[in-house]
Symmetry: C2
Subunit: 232 residues, 2 copies
């Protein structure tokens, strides 16, 4: 496993040793070694029994790992899954999206109960209502049902009323994502875009939503003059 698709470098490309790779990526040598041991990063090419060289593919991969870890909040094992899927040329692109998406949210099982059954029903109705061509029991559907059930259990079932407002906002975002991804040509780029878009796009929207909260809150409750509030 591993080791495919990472370095499309020929032979004349600039290749470096681990210290320089560390400096360029901002990841400590010890951590790079650790990632290699864990199979997240392919080992460098040995030039002698204890000397290896790393190329720009390693650097890129390393930055991807850090982005998924720090910004996307994925676990290393989730990142491993995602990277293995990226590197497997046999995987269809929509499957990559599936793996990336599945590993984002924790929501494991979301313990069963009547709320969960109701929530599943509600998800099915939503999909019907909006004409989305998705199985209600798909991972994303289950995740949504889990959230709805949790809202109900926490005594905030009323929040589910916003489902359609949220869905209306999610549609154009998804279209924009697909459109962005569709502009890639090479499979490798495309597939990485899917992952980055899914994971970091989430963080991006999240930050924007909070900015919009602060703005909306300032408009609703704040002064009329252009005063600003750093609250969120």
């Amino acid at each position: 496993m591993m080791g495919c698709g990472v370095g499309k470098s020929g032979k004349g490309e600039r290749s470096v040793r681990i210290g320089e790779l560390s400096r360029r990526s901002g990841v400590s040598v010890a951590t790079i070694k650790f990632y290699v041991r864990e199979g997240l990063l392919p080992p460098g090419e040995l030039t002698s029994p204890n000397q290896a060289s790393y190329d720009s593919g390693h650097e890129r991969r390393l930055k991807l790992i850090r982005a998924l870890l720090d910004v996307g909040g994925l676990s290393l094992s989730a990142i491993g899954d995602v990277l293995r899927t990226i590197d497997d040329p046999a995987q269809p692109v929509h499957h990559v999206l599936g793996v990336a998406a599945k590993r984002i949210t924790a929501i494991e099982g979301s313990e069963p109960g009547p709320e969960l059954d109701d929530a599943r029903e509600e998800v099915a109705e939503l999909l019907e209502r909006r004409g989305w061509r998705v199985e209600a029991r798909s991972p994303a559907g289950e995740a949504l049902a889990g959230v709805l059930a949790a809202l109900r259990r926490a005594g905030h079932g009323g929040f589910c009323e916003l489902l359609d407002d949220y869905a209306s906002a999610a549609e154009p975002v998804a279209r924009a994502d697909l459109d962005y991804v569709g502009r890639r040509v090479a499979r490798e780029d495309l597939v990485e875009s899917v992952v980055v878009g899914t994971v970091l796009g989430e963080a991006m929207f999240s930050a924007l939503r909070r900015l919009a909260h602060v703005d909306a809150s300032a408009r609703a409750y704040g002064g009329e003059q252009g005063e600003r509030d750093g609250g969120g």
Copy 2:
């Protein structure tokens, strides 16, 4: 600290011992004890040196903790911060939103560099362009800058082109959130709604976005007949 605002029970209300609280909430007795020790849950009212009773406020609080933990993905220490803010009647509501929001995203610092400065600039321009009344250096603004910088570093700076699409989607979502929150009357309810809305709303949008991805992908690449795909 703690212990205020949780049980608005009078005296005639149904109060139970820890075993029953555990059964109702689905949280083990050992874990409930642990939460009490950690200050996340106020202790039960002692009826004798080693006997205490818990009311519906405890049950509600417990379910809130589990929702924030399991669905929202907050850490216990973040949950502690949030709960303390909820329980402090002196905290203005927008500050609660700030605390809830700040603790969602990890993004600590997002190591500095030219990308981060550029990203901050880009955030400021976005805010200007959209007329959002928010400080660019607010926590949410910094989070966004961190995401943009990470995208650039990962070699996917092109994704930043979607910023305005995302912002356009975030606006109505934020309005819907505020509108929902605004319908609450009691401070306690209001403040809890803010937290739940911020944290679980994020999970809800995330699931919807993924559902919309699957749908959009099916439309773009899938068959014309109503075939469905459970891929994401």
